[in-house]
C-alpha cells in the first residue's frame, strides 16, 4: 500500500485553464501540479467557483487544458473515455431508460465489444446482464432495476449513477460532488457504502466536495484549492487514518479532529471566501 502511494498513476503537470467569455478571457485555473497514485482516494476541496469541477472535467477529458499536460497510466488524456468513469453532480441518468438499462449502457460499451479493455474478449449478453445486476446489487438497488429514474428518490438516483460508473470497472473513478444534493442522513449512508466499495475494488478515486467531514472521512489526500479566479492548489493534506474507517469512532479521534481543523482553518481563515456583489 505504502509503495503504491508513491507511484504516479495520474499526473497533472502545469495545467492552466482559461475560458473565453463575452467579457474577455477568464482564467479559471493556473499552475496545477498533482500526482495521484493507483488506489489512492483524493478529495478536491475549496469554495464554490474555485475551479474544482473544472479540474475534474479536465481529468475526465471533457475539456482540454489551455496549458500543461494530463497523463493517466502513462498516456496523455486526449478525451473522455470509459476508463475514467464520471459520477455526475446531478446523476445524469437518462430518464427514458430503466435503472438497469442506464447501467447496462455503460457495461455494454466496455465489455460488449472486443478490444475496448486491453486483452479482454467480447462478453456475451448473459455476462453483461450479470455484470449489470452485480453493480446494482453492490449499491443495494436490485429491487429498483426495472424502475425509471423518475420513480425513485434522489439518493437512489445517485446510487444508480455510482453503479453505472463502477460497473465499467474504470481505472479512475471521478466524482463531482456526488452527494451534494442529498440530505445529511442519506449522504452519510452513501459515504459508508462508497468506503466499503472502494475498499473492495481498490479504485483510484478523485472526488470534488465542499464538505470537510466527507473529505477527511473518505480520503488519503485532501487537495485544498485557493479561491478563483486563477485558482491553484493551496495545500495538500495527507490523511493517515487507518482503514476501515468508521464515522462513529472517528468522531472523537484526536488525529481526525486535527485534520478536520486543518481543513477548516485553510478554508475559513486563510481562504475566507469574499462574496462578490
Amino acid at each position: 500500500m505504502s509503495e503504491g502511494l508513491t507511484t504516479k498513476y495520474l499526473e497533472i503537470q502545469g495545467v492552466a485553464q482559461t475560458f473565453k467569455t463575452a467579457k474577455g478571457d477568464f482564467p479559471a485555473l493556473r499552475d496545477i501540479n498533482l500526482n495521484v497514485a493507483k488506489g489512492e482516494f483524493v478529495a478536491l476541496i475549496g469554495h464554490s467557483g474555485c475551479g474544482k469541477s473544472t479540474l475534474l472535467n479536465l481529468i475526465a477529458g471533457l475539456t482540454t487544458p489551455t496549458q500543461g499536460n494530463l497523463i493517466c497510466a502513462n498516456r496523455e488524456i486526449a478525451g473522455p473515455g470509459p476508463e475514467r468513469a464520471v459520477v455526475f453532480q446531478n446523476h445524469s441518468l437518462l430518464p427514458w431508460l430503466t435503472c438497469f438499462e442506464n447501467v447496462y449502457l455503460g457495461v455494454e460499451r466496455v465489455f460488449g465489444y472486443s478490444g475496448v479493455v486491453d486483452g479482454k474478449v467480447k462478453e456475451d449478453k448473459a455476462q453483461l446482464v450479470a455484470r449489470t445486476h452485480a453493480a446494482l446489487d453492490m449499491v443495494g438497488l436490485t429491487h429498483a432495476a426495472q424502475k425509471r429514474p423518475g420513480e425513485i428518490s434522489g439518493g437512489m438516483k445517485q446510487r444508480v449513477g455510482i453503479a453505472r460508473a463502477l460497473a465499467m470497472e474504470p481505472q479512475v473513478l471521478l466524482m463531482d460532488e456526488p452527494f451534494g444534493a442529498l440530505d445529511a442522513l442519506t449522504r452519510a449512508k452513501l459515504q459508508d457504502e462508497l468506503l466499503a466499495i472502494v475498499a473492495n475494488t481498490h479504485s483510484t478515486v478523485v472526488m470534488v466536495t465542499h464538505d470537510v467531514d466527507e473529505a477527511v472521512l473518505l480520503s488519503d489526500k485532501i487537495v485544498m484549492m485557493t479561491n478563483g479566479p486563477a485558482a491553484t492548489i493551496g495545500e495538500v493534506l495527507h490523511i493517515d487514518l487507518p482503514r476501515p474507517r468508521s464515522r462513529v469512532t472517528l468522531a472523537d479521534n484526536p488525529a481526525y479532529l486535527n485534520y478536520r481543523k486543518a481543513v477548516i482553518d485553510f478554508l475559513y481563515t486563510r481562504q475566507a471566501h469574499v462574496e462578490k456583489t
Binding site: 468513469a85 464520471v86 445524469s92
Partner: protein
C-alpha cells in the same frame, strides 16, 4: 368533503355546459331577430339528425354524404402532413445538430414561414396540374414549418449532461442518436406534430373552398351556393369536433412519451 366535491362537480361539469348554453342562447337570439332566415338551433338540430342518418351516401362527385367529405379532407391532411413529417423531421435534426445547416436554412424559414399557405395554392395548381395534389401541397407547406422548427429546438436543447454521459461512455454516433437524441427530442417533435396538424386542419377547409371536389371545405362552399345555411352551421361543428379529436389524440401521445426530466 361533500362541499368540496359539489364544488368540483360545479366547476368541472356545470361550467362547460353553461358555456355551451350561452352559445346556443346567443345563436337563438340572432336567429329570432334576423330577417334573412338565419336558422334556429332547433331547426339546425333536426337537419343535423337528417344529415347524420346517412353520412355515407354518394350521388355523383358533387353530392356526397358528410362522412365522405370529412374522410376525403382527412385523407388530404394525412398525405400532406405525412410528407411534411418525412421531410421536416430529418431537416429539423440536421438544423439542430449542425450550426452550418442552421445558418443556411434559418433565413429561408424566416422568410417563407409567415406566408399564408393559401398563397402557395396557385403554385401547386401550376406545377401539379390538379386540384387534389395542389391541396395536398398546401397542407405540406403549412405543416412543415412547425415540425422543422420544433425538432431543431429539441435537438438544440438536449441537456449537455446527457451528451457528457455519451462522451464518457464513448458511445457511437448511431447509439447516441438512438438512445439519447431521439428520446430527448421526441416530446419537442410531438409538439411540432400537434401544431402542424392543427394548422393543417385550419388550412384544408380554406384550400378546398378554392379547389372544389369532395371535402368538408368544398361542402361548406357548395351549401353556401345552395343557400343552405343549416348545413354550413353543421359543417362548422363537424370541423370543430374533428379538430378537437385530432388535438386531443396528439396530446395523449405526447404525454405518453414525455419523461419527468424532459417535462421540467
Amino acid at each position: 368533503m361533500s362541499i368540496s366535491l359539489n364544488k368540483q362537480i360545479v366547476t368541472s361539469i356545470v361550467a362547460p355546459f353553461m358555456g355551451l348554453a350561452l352559445l346556443v342562447g346567443l345563436w337563438a337570439l340572432v336567429s329570432l331577430s334576423s330577417t334573412n332566415n338565419f336558422p334556429s338551433p332547433a331547426d339546425t338540430f333536426l337537419q343535423a339528425v337528417e344529415v347524420f342518418s346517412d353520412p355515407f351516401y354518394s350521388k355523383g362527385p358533387n353530392d356526397q354524404g358528410v362522412g365522405w367529405n370529412v374522410l376525403s379532407s382527412l385523407k388530404r391532411v394525412a398525405m400532406g402532413f405525412g410528407l411534411a413529417a418525412l421531410v421536416g423531421i430529418p431537416m429539423g435534426f440536421l438544423i439542430g445538430r449542425f450550426d452550418f445547416m442552421s445558418r443556411m436554412f434559418n433565413p429561408l424559414i424566416s422568410l417563407l414561414r409567415p406566408v399564408s399557405p393559401l398563397a402557395w395554392l396557385p403554385i401547386g395548381l401550376l406545377v401539379f396540374k390538379g386540384a387534389n395534389p395542389a391541396a395536398i401541397w398546401t397542407i405540406f407547406i403549412c405543416s412543415i414549418w412547425p415540425m422543422i422548427i420544433n425538432t431543431a429546438v429539441g435537438v438544440q436543447r438536449v441537456p449537455q449532461d446527457y451528451m457528457n454521459v455519451a462522451r464518457v461512455l464513448n458511445l457511437s454516433e448511431w447509439k447516441i442518436i438512438r438512445t439519447i437524441l431521439f428520446p430527448a427530442v421526441l416530446p419537442y417533435m410531438l409538439t411540432g406534430v400537434r401544431l402542424a396538424v392543427g394548422t393543417a386542419w385550419l388550412v384544408i377547409v380554406a384550400a378546398e373552398m378554392l379547389t372544389g371536389g369532395v371535402g368538408i371545405g368544398f361542402w361548406v362552399w357548395d351549401e353556401w351556393n345552395n343557400l343552405n345555411v343549416k348545413n354550413i352551421i353543421i359543417a362548422i361543428f363537424v370541423i370543430g369536433i374533428v379538430g378537437l379529436i385530432l388535438e386531443y389524440a396528439l396530446i395523449k401521445i405526447a404525454t405518453a412519451f414525455t419523461y419527468e426530466e424532459v417535462k421540467s
